[in-house]
Amino acid sequence: MIRQLLFLALILLLSGPAATRTLHVGPGQSYSSIRRALDAAGTGDRIIVHAGTYQECPVVIDRSITLSGYGLPILDAQGEREGVIIEADSVTVEGFEIRHTGYSYIEDRAGIRVKRNKAFTIRNNRLILTFFGIYLEHARSGVVENNAILGKPLGEANSGNGIHLWYCSEVDIRNNLIRGHRDGIYFEFATDSRIRNNISEDNLRYGLHFMFSNDDIYTGNTFRENGAGVAVMFSRRIRMLHNLFHLNWGQAAYGLLLKEIYDAEIRENTFQKNTIGIFTEGSNRIHYEDNDFLQNGWAVKVAGGCDQNTFIRNNFIGNSFDFAAIGNMSSNRIEQNFWGDYTGYDLDKDGTGDVPYRPVKLFNYIVDQTPETIILMRSLLVEILNFSEKVSPVLTPADVSDALPRMHRYGR
């Protein structure tokens, strides 16, 4: 019996996993440099890099291996190179601190670059002052998770994007912290990807930015104190769920900017304390449902060319302006929202107000024509104007109206 077991153990030892090895890099380990270990490694091997500072950037990975840092080793790019370049399928890079790629006008240097391959995993890394953080080009089916990507402090124009996707598909980006870049996360021609539970803050332009990207979803993210929260442009079928858009203040600042997008879904998000919660232009068939608009300058501003959009069951509370609309809104549906400023009554006690609510106020119309008049906000004159317009509407658009306004805010 014992002999049989020993025999079995021997077979197991000799057969299956013999192909994959673990190589150790570091002071006093079998390899003194990452490059040497990479040269010696074969498919499926694991290289463990022990704590220390390594000045051998760029680390080019040209075979399918796992590169793991143990004790947060530092890869120092010394201000003039990229950190790690992945040039093979099925590569994992984890547990490194990558520093100082330096900034350049000529090349988009990255902390970690993935080039034309698939099945990559980039996790548990810290990227400090890299120009672009993680740069994925022509890559697919990969994961970017639990990384901290910390760039320059806010206000410096010359910075790259935290996580940059360029012609990618099926990428999962989750639980990352991105700070101090141009755009926190940037998608250009990136499809079928998921962005979950990230925090993107203090970025110069946008927390998250889509250009020409379709069929993506972002959910559970926080976008805080960016130049503007999120911009979705020239894209189709983007789903935006459970995100927080917070404190995006400034002249050109929006919680969410939508420009020429189609068939999107915006559900259960919170827009709080933004200059403009959502600005939308030339965007059709967008479904806005169960969102909270709290304490924004403008909750929703709809510019020209927006058709067949639906605003349903949203809370509008404490905004200076709930709704601004330029152009024909007749093909849009606005109903069953809760409007903090609604003063109607509910005689049949069914929870729905008996008179329609028109969220565009007269003063809104005046401010659009002459922005400087904003100084009269909250003055008696404006109150009188708004009131008289409410009693007998002349200038405010009749097609922006909620026929079924709710009497109580929706609990979430």
Binding site: Y105, G155, A157, N158, W166, R182, E188, L204, R205, Y206, M211, F212, G227, A228, A231, M233, F234, G250, Q251, A252, L257, K259, F279, E281
Partner: protein, 147 residues
């Protein structure tokens, strides 16, 4: 008295119509609403009355200008690819559309003050060269924007 004079001169100067410097990270593109951050691709138009329109990308300026009368603008300016942040005359600049040099709104459009430079970058990166007029023609026929 002298201070007053200086102040007066300064105020007159401050009022004169002309190009304004772009506040990167603060100003928004008049055409596409995006915040302007890219110093290699920004652009500006100034009307005869002194109204200034700023753009985050050269393609935004071109698309804005196509349906309008160009003569009503005293300045049409684009960023020089080689000297980020410096604005040059759009009408005399040399333009390079190269698949290797992305621009903010997806047209891969870059401007150069020095035509020799655009030609040499063309040689390195491939692409097509345009003048201001041929650029407008191609943009109007919609052959330069994605989709």
């Amino acid at each position: 008295m002298r201070t007053l004079l200086i102040l007066f001169t300064l105020s007159i100067l401050a009022c004169s119509p002309g190009p304004q410097s772009i506040r990167y990270g603060e100003d928004a593109c008049y055409f596409c609403k995006m915040t302007i951050v890219d110093q290699q691709h920004s652009a500006e138009a100034v009307t005869a009355k002194g109204k200034v329109y700023k753009f985050d990308a050269i393609e935004c300026l071109v698309q804005y200008i196509i349906p309008l009368d160009e003569a009503t603008f005293t300045h049409l300016l684009v960023a020089d690819f080689d000297q980020p942040g410096s604005l040059i005359d759009a009408r005399t600049a040399s333009y390079l559309v190269s698949p290797n040099l992305p621009s903010p709104m997806g047209a891969f459009l870059n401007a150069f003050d020095n035509p020799n430079r655009s030609a040499s970058v063309l040689h390195e990166q491939s692409g097509t060269l345009y003048s201001w007029d041929s650029l407008k023609e191609n943009m109007a026929s919609n052959s330069l924007m994605p989709r």
